[in-house]
């Protein structure tokens, strides 16, 4: 029933080709922000429309409906499980990200399409933590922005619908992206997804920053 509902909801974005849509499943907090910026700009630089549960705002539809809609209307998804560890005094782990990976895997099995890509930390014993994923090719990375750019881009450019790109195309523009994002932050508490994507396309289309530009980009 839920998948049927998601399919209906997905039709609300008729202009977006699923073959060029990438659902991003990652933490949306301050601690992850630098990596998120790198991830979003990589997806756009490779010629894909980044999708997220955040794109449709906050409260009018249930969170699960929004996630189903975004995943169901994307042929690709990226899942960063690197932050699925114990947090706080009770050492509780957040399960949203593995749950969304499960939805994406189900999408591939039932809809016959959808490629997913999983990032995990370099040293985590994932074979024990998510033993069901043993045998799958989980991409290990060290939690740094150049590493996430190289890994994600290395996956996206293996598809024919991607734009050719190299990591420096993103890394040399990250400062400019952050500068423009800071301007948006002055305006919005939670920057609307649409504005983030539009800003990323402007930066990806522009020239790479000179080194002194990158420094001022931190503003």
């Amino acid at each position: 029933v839920t998948i049927g509902a998601a399919a209906t909801a997905a039709s609300s974005h008729p202009n977006i080709d699923p073959q060029r849509s990438v659902f991003i499943n990652c933490p949306y907090d301050d601690e992850y922000e630098q990596l998120f910026d790198a991830l979003l700009l990589t997806v756009v630089t490779c010629g894909f429309v980044p999708r997220s549960a955040l794109e449709s705002g906050s409260v009018s539809a249930s969170r699960m409906d929004r996630i189903f809609t975004a995943i169901d209307s994307s042929d690709f998804s990226i899942h960063d499980l690197s932050r699925c560890h114990g947090e706080g005094e009770a050492l509780l782990a957040r399960f949203n990200m593995p749950l969304e990976l499960g939805i994406a895997m189900s999408c591939r099995r039932h809809a016959g399409r959808h490629d997913w890509f999983v990032l995990v930390p370099t040293d985590a014993p994932y074979a024990r933590f998510v033993s069901d994923l043993t045998g799958f090719d989980l991409q290990r990375y060290d939690g740094k922005e150049d590493s996430i750019v190289q890994n994600v881009m290395g996956w996206l450019v293996t598809f024919s619908q991607a734009l050719p790109a190299k990591p420096s195309d993103v890394l040399n523009r990250l400062g400019m992206f952050r500068k423009k994002k800071a301007e948006l932050k002055a305006e919005w508490n939670q920057i609307p997804w649409r504005h983030l994507v539009e800003t990323a396309t402007q930066v990806a289309a522009g020239p790479p920053a000179a080194p002194n530009h990158v420094a001022s980009g931190a503003l």
Binding site: S12, G47, F48, E55, Q150, T158, F159, P192, R194
Partner: protein, 346 residues
């Protein structure tokens, strides 16, 4: 000369035939077929074979990009390429199989759907020995690539405009948030929860173009946040957002007050090199110039310039110290190795 031949294990006949044809032409070849199947060993085996080869040949057949092993080989080859191992990559394409993006800048050698690989092997050999001798397909010229990129980015930007709630959905969100605010006013009137709900409500109202009520929500949120010292950063950000709305509504003097408070709050939270305070200052300077308080604008500009300079100097110092530590570590290693070597000789 040795080449790594990457081909789909499931449809491997073309790849295997190509390897035989290359060997017949005196080119040593290798592939991933004999590597151990366990993921880690397989992956390090492919890396080793790629490293030990002078070039990589990619056999592309319909459905190739859905083969996870093949895709992993491509990623490992790219990883080496991006790490500086600039060895030739030669796509050999069967039929009209589309090229993956990373191979589009390489000249592709095409094999008809029912053709044999002999001619392709000859072309690979010619390409290896006399670069570019037998390309069937030239890569797109840079200007064409750049136009294609711009067109795609325009398409993404156009798609992004649909990635927001419809007006009806926004109205529904605003109504739900207003109800939530009313409930919290009754049950938890001074809570952070209420401040957060008002801020969220403000974003929705702003998206709908209703700036006055959006600002009212922010002003109410600020009053609550002022009583929560643990929410100082949120208060500073909310003041910044409120100042932006005030300026848009022509309330320049109120905007100035909010931005000055936001600047001071960030300086207290982050210290004198606060990047957030610099961001606020940038907006403040433009506002001060517009209201003709040039003395204040100049003072802010001077502080901003000094701050930017200090941040750049700090970043340079960190870089210099990292390089020096790396150099000392390397020198220590080399000296240690030298002593070991001398010890071995004695």
């Amino acid at each position: 000369m040795k080449v790594f031949v990457s081909y789909s294990g499931a449809k491997g006949e073309t790849g295997r035939q190509l390897r035989l044809a290359l060997e017949a032409n005196g080119i040593d070849s290798t592939d991933a077929s004999a590597l151990p199947s366990a993921a880690r060993e397989w992956s390090s085996g492919v890396k080793r074979e790629l490293r030990d080869s002078d070039a990589a040949v990619f056999v592309l057949e319909p459905g190739a990009e859905r083969d996870p092993y093949l895709q992993q080989e491509w990623r490992l080859a790219l990883e080496q390429w991006w790490s500086g191992a600039e060895k030739p990559m030669i796509p050999v394409v069967k039929g009209d199989t589309p090229l993956p993006a990373f191979l589009r800048e390489w000249q592709a050698i095409r094999i008809p759907p029912d053709g044999d690989v002999t001619a392709a092997a000859d072309a690979v050999v010619a390409t290896l020995r006399h670069a570019g001798a037998r390309p069937d397909t030239a890569p797109a010229p840079p200007s064409q690539e750049s136009e294609a990129k711009q067109e795609r980015l325009d398409q993404i930007r156009a798609a992004a405009t649909t990635l927001q709630p419809s007006n009806d959905e926004l109205a529904q969100q605003a109504q739900l948030l207003a109800e939530r605010c009313r409930e919290l006013e009754r049950t938890q009137p001074d809570s952070l929860e209420l401040a957060r709900a008002r801020i969220a409500c403000s974003d929705v109202l702003k998206t709908m173009g209703r700036k006055e009520p959006a600002l009212q929500q922010l002003e109410l949120a600020i009053k609550i946040l002022e009583h929560h010292p643990d929410a100082a950063r949120r208060l500073a950000r909310t003041r910044m957002n409120a100042g932006t709305l005030m300026q848009e509504l022509g309330r320049d003097r109120d905007a100035r007050v909010e931005w000055e408070k936001a600047r001071d709050a960030y300086l207290t939270i982050d210290g004198p090199l606060s990047v957030n305070a610099m961001i606020v200052r940038t907006s403040l300077i433009a506002l001060l110039k517009r209201i003709d308080d040039n003395a204040a604008a100049d003072a802010e500009q001077a502080t901003l310039n000094a701050g930017v300079q200090a941040v750049a100097t700090t970043a340079f110092d960190v870089l210099r110290s990292t390089v020096r530590r790396g150099f000392e570590w390397l020198t220590g290693k080399l000296e240690g190795a030298g002593q070991k070597s001398k010890g071995g000789e004695s």
